[in-house]
Amino acid sequence: MNEIISLLFIVIGAMFDLFGCVGLVRMPDIYNRLQASTKCVTLGTCSILFGVFIKYGFTAAGVKALLCIIFLLLTAPVTAHALARGAHKSGVKLWEKSVCDKYSETGS
């Protein structure tokens, strides 16, 4: 029973990984790529690690999978934030059909 549930979590995580990577290829500019790929790939990888935790239970490998989930949830949004700020400061323009850009109006 545990095997089936863990395999289900791993398959769902792999599907979300694929959606994130398709978003990385299809979206028109860097900010939209960051949106799609960061959300989907982070939760997909967390789901894969949770499946590994269900398979092993509270042994060494299972607890390491839980710690890896915590690290990933803390670090992935920080890297997305830093990359978005760095891209905007290095002069990457938004997509030409964007609605508004309040950040470049402040002149910072």
Partner: protein, 112 residues
């Protein structure tokens, strides 16, 4: 034109998924590893094609997160525990590397 491109991509991706999950006679974890290889190839496509350095940095970050999931599935497939150690070390290392890349994009020195 746009709809034809979407249909082409959708058909090829679904063909690959159906091929992997129904016609190959390997273990279930190996099927998921092949499935993740498709994700790797999509991220590598963005690294090749990216118009600006920022796009390449984003794709490198995503590739780093995918490697963690690949290590976890590899630990299930081989039954060895120490692949999880590699996953944790890779998570911390790719975090620091991406922060350094973002500081480089911003055009500042590293000690600021």
């Amino acid at each position: 034109m746009r709809f034809i491109r979407w249909l082409l991509g959708f058909l090829s991706l679904s063909f690959l998924i159906v091929f992997i999950f129904s016609f190959l006679k390997v273990a279930a974890a190996a099927k998921i590893m092949l499935f993740l290889l498709i994700c790797f190839s999509l991220a590598l496509f963005r690294i090749f094609r990216g118009p600006t350095p920022a796009d390449r940095s984003v794709a490198t970050d995503i590739l780093g997160i995918l490697v963690i999931g690949f290590c976890a599935v590899l630990a299930v497939y081989t039954g060895k525990d120490w692949y999880m150690d590699i996953a944790i070390a890779w998570a911390l290392q790719s975090f620091i590397g991406t922060l350094a890349l973002a500081k480089f994009l911003e055009g500042k020195h590293l000690d600021e």
